[in-house]
């Protein structure tokens, strides 16, 4: 793995509020190759905003030295180029299908639309591709589900439809923003399994954003730990126990472990000094 898919340098995202300027992301840098990168952090750590900033879809102000994808600097590219890249080369799976699917269109039509946007396919061809995709995400009776509306499908099925929709144009990189956080635990594993297969079969890069450290460590190759808009630490997934940063260690200690003997569950102690790290680099692609 030599050339990274995505190269982010010094990315910042800020919002203007009545109380002043809020910096959601502060000068972070990282690279993603054809691998699975997890971005872990609590609410407000800036992980979601990072994902959106890559696609140019955050309402905040984005500043960066580069956001480079396949030789194109997404930060400075014209709107048409970005639109061509969205969906076709980089895609994003969102958290809750109840809200992220258009309520007045059938799910099948929405999947087909994702295909037609980037190809010259006819309606029938697109429908066929959509049906094939529904089968790939292991939905039985794709014909019937094609004609359903979002409010008629369960959470797990909705996320599979979302996956189908986002992967149908065949992107190289997929950003999954809390893809299983809105699902029941049992359904989470099924959806993750499907995502796992598809990412592997198609050789895609994956950025997996979540607040669940253990989930990310079992699913991804590398992990970025974010706090306060900055990257605290970069870890290999298998090397969690070698974490050095006190925040990461604190996070790990907060989770109850059946094998560990401890009296009280420790509380994460935050240190203001972490906020002044200024950016933080996500390490190079190995």
């Amino acid at each position: 793995m030599d050339k990274p898919l995505l190269n982010v340098e010094n990315l910042s995202v800020s919002f203007d509020t009545p109380k002043g300027v809020v910096e959601a992301v502060r000068g972070i840098s990282f690279q993603v190759g054809q691998e699975r990168l997890g971005i872990v952090g609590e609410s407000g750590s800036g992980k979601s905003q990072t994902g959106r900033a890559i696609l140019g879809l955050t309402p905040g102000r984005v500043e960066a030295d580069r956001i480079e994808f396949d030789g194109i600097n997404l930060h400075k590219a014209p709107a048409r180029t970005i639109r061509a890249i969205r969906g076709r080369r980089i895609s994003m799976i969102m958290q809750d299908p109840r809200y992220s699917l258009n309520p007045v269109m059938t799910v099948g039509w929405q999947i087909a639309e994702a295909y037609r946007v980037h190809t010259n396919a006819t309606k029938r061809e697109a429908k066929q591709h959509a049906l094939d995709m529904l089968t790939t995400v292991r939905i039985r009776e794709p014909e019937k589900v094609y004609g359903l509306y979002p409010h008629q499908v369960s959470g797990g099925m909705g996320q599979r439809i979302m996956i189908a929709m986002m992967l149908i144009p065949g992107p190289d990189l997929i950003i999954a923003d809390e893809p299983t956080s809105a699902l029941d635990v049992t359904v989470q594993l099924q959806v993750l399994a499907i995502l796992d297969d598809m990412v592997r079969d198609r050789g895609m890069g994956l950025i997996f954003i979540s607040h669940d450290l253990h989930l990310v460590s079992s699913f991804c190759d590398r992990i970025l730990v974010m706090y306060g808009g900055q990257i605290m630490e970069v870890l290999e997934a298998g090397a969690l126990d070698q974490a050095e940063h006190p925040y990461t260690k604190g996070l790990l200690n907060c989770l109850p472990d059946i094998d560990r003997q401890q009296g009280t569950l420790p509380v994460l102690r935050r240190d203001d000094a972490w906020m002044n790290r200024k950016g933080g680099a996500g390490g190079d692609v190995p």
Partner: protein, 360 residues
């Protein structure tokens, strides 16, 4: 549980959700609504009954007028059944309404229903044209404002809208007549049609534009059209303002939703995002708004018709008011009230048909 069983389970659940919207539940919802509408109708008649018969000191006098002879007075008193208990009076009143009997007008000495049928098309004409303008101008304006939120065009449209629903329409009509009729002479004065054309066209639908076009009387058609411009513009100003405002509000709501983000992630053009995705969700709500607009215009015509001497139901009611012709006032109120309720019911039904979420 294996993967396949889990899949099967979810698919069966989904299938079950579809079949649940089968006939019995639809029927139930329908009767529930029908009952609700019925109740509103009863309420409307009850309130007009109270206003017309219970509240006046002497309801008979209110109906026959103070110039009526003693015999007429006595006859009406018996007809109204004022000696009977209130409930019975109300039932008589209600059954009369259902048969279309609103009593006789003092002014015109015709049955009130005949008068209403005569004058209603003029009001319908105004309200319909104004609503059409409001819809075809107001919706694009609202979308434009929402998409460009905070920029100049948004502020301009908001101010236009603000003007439209803050202005007293009768006053605006007067000013418009002053400028365009008296001042510039571009448009004709009050009235539905020039005096010398009155009565030439046979009134089949009651809508002069339609009748004259069907009978090939094009001079009369243009004359009627010219007379229509000012009063319809006044009402259209309000309709446009209201619809633009609501469209903007709904679009802003939708543009903040997650599924809009999804649409953008898919790489759709802004146009597709706005019109195919956001607007499609707004359309559903706009149906209710358009219904409300039409109903408001039916009502708002009351004052506009006075200014423009437009022979519609609004003018009928106000003239009857000044002549203390209670039957006519109450009759007109009931009819407009029914139309009001009717339009709202219709838009409610349309809403349910168009919105897939209300199908279950």
């Amino acid at each position: 549980m294996s993967q396949d069983t889990a899949n099967a389970k979810t698919t069966i659940e989904a299938a079950g959700r579809i079949s649940r919207s089968a006939l019995p539940s639809r029927l139930f919802a329908f009767t529930k609504h029908g009952f609700s509408i019925l109740l509103t109708f009863v309420g409307l008649t009850a309130i007009t009954f109270i206003i017309g018969r219970v509240m006046p000191a002497d309801p008979v006098l209110a109906i026959v007028g103070d110039r009526a002879s003693n015999e007429v007075y006595e006859a009406m008193r018996l007809q109204l059944g004022l000696d009977k208990p209130l409930i019975q009076q109300y039932l008589i009143y209600l059954s009369n309404i259902l048969q279309g009997d609103f009593g006789t007008s003092i002014m015109t000495t015709r049955p009130v229903l005949d008068d209403i049928i005569r004058f209603f098309p003029a009001t319908l004409e105004l309200a319909t044209i104004a609503t059409i303008f409001g819809v075809f101008l107001g919706i694009p304006m609202g979308v434009l404002a929402a998409v460009n939120q905070g920029r100049l065009i948004d502020h301009v449209i908001r101010i236009i809208g603000l003007f439209g629903y803050s202005v007293p329409i009768f006053w605006l009509g007067m000013v418009a007549l002053l400028i365009f009729y008296a001042g510039l002479g571009w448009l004709p004065g009050p009235g539905r049609i020039a005096v010398y054309y009155d009565g030439i066209v046979e009134a089949r639908s009651g809508i002069i534009l339609l009748d004259s076009a069907l009978q090939g009387e094009w001079e009369i058609f243009w004359n009627a059209l010219h007379h229509l411009v000012l009063p319809a513009s006044m009402l259209a100003t309000f309709a446009l303002a209201y619809i633009a405002r609501m469209t903007r509000s709904f679009m802003l709501d939708q543009l903040n939703q997650e599924y809009i983000l999804t649409a953008r992630v898919k790489g759709l053009s802004e146009g597709a995002v706005i019109w195919r995705h956001a607007f499609r969700n707004v359309l559903v709500q706009l149906i209710t708004i358009i219904g409300l607009t039409y109903a408001s215009l039916l009502e708002g015509s009351v004052l506009t018709e006075t200014i423009f001497a437009w022979p519609g139901i609004g003018q009928y009611i106000t003239t009857s008011l000044f002549n203390a012709d209670m039957n006519a006032v109450i009759g007109g109120t009931v009819v407009v009230g029914i139309c009001f309720v009717g339009v709202n019911v219709l838009s409610d039904i349309l809403y349910r048909i168009v919105d897939p979420r209300s199908h279950d």
